[in-house]
Symmetry: C2
Subunit: 179 residues, 2 copies
């Protein structure tokens, strides 16, 4: 049976810089109460940036949460009053220095809908024009361009471990194959 969980009480536990945490008390169909721990996130964009020779522009950076350096598609969180498309243009430029002649909305998805409301809006960037990156202070990142065929091999070897990037590679592979 499908059932929409009604909020009986909500309690803010933490109000932070990039996320908040709240605990909702909800009512179940049998009238019992249960708790839901929910991370609030403003949402983000991810950019599948394809060069004219079918490489993907990725960034490599240290991720404290997982204590590792990861390859990821350029991405960043939505600022207040910012449309996802503006965020995509801004983040692509800041992180990689690239501007895109053509930016197309692809899809959107939740990273961890079991406990987090973060939605990622995916864009495809084509017609890339190189400029200089200007990352946020405190962001130390390296930009790389990797041919899609090599990326698929890296994915199969377990070297790409970020969910939005895996989705981006699958989409890019299909787009390039069908173009």
């Amino acid at each position: 049976m499908l059932y929409e969980e009604k909020t009986m009480k909500t309690e803010k536990v933490y109000d932070g810089k990039i996320l908040n945490l709240r605990i909702d008390t909800i009512e179940l169909p049998d009238k019992k109460y249960s708790k839901r721990e929910i991370v609030e996130h403003p949402g983000a964009v991810g950019i599948i940036a394809i060069t004219s020779d079918n490489s993907l522009v990725l960034v490599k950076q240290y991720r404290k949460a997982v204590e590792d350096f990861l390859y990821e598609i350029p991405a960043g969180k939505l600022e207040v009053n910012e449309e996802p498309k503006e965020t995509a243009i801004r983040e692509l430029s800041e992180e990689t220095g690239y501007n895109a002649e053509k930016l197309t909305y692809i899809s959107e998805f939740y990273t961890s809908p079991g406990y987090c409301d973060e939605k990622i809006h995916l864009f495809l960037a084509q017609g890339l024009i190189k400029g200089d990156p200007y990352p946020d202070s405190g962001e130390f990142i390296e930009t790389v361009e990797i041919p899609i065929d090599d990326l698929v091999k890296m994915l199969n070897r377990g070297e790409i471990v970020d969910s939005k990037t895996i989705i981006g590679i699958f989409i890019a592979k299909d787009l390039i194959k069908n173009s």
Copy 2:
């Protein structure tokens, strides 16, 4: 420049049922300090369960965090001292009633490595044998079997919005095409 962030201080903000929250103070290359908000999660499994007629077994359930009913591959978080493969066998059976004659490790990835350490271990389940589901108390879910071709259409229409499920559909599509 790539740089590993050294922890100078760590502060536990919340210790919960399915997640914890901590704030790490880290040192940057310019010796300045910055904060990292980090959600701690025990990790989870996701199961790409393919039937003999090339359908995927999905579950539909309400997700309070995103206030919507989502289609997802069967999944669940790792219990203490549980190997991912055991979790996969348990969750597939609990959520869908299916047991798999063949369970194969596929890959692993992080859902949101920018602020969360959750790692999802993906398994492929084949040779499915139907039993009765016995979901956890408080879990109200519906099991559906959807042909992979229909799922790809649903994905293209934006009806599949969970990251692990999108990855699962891409993998299943490639596996079925190449089999």
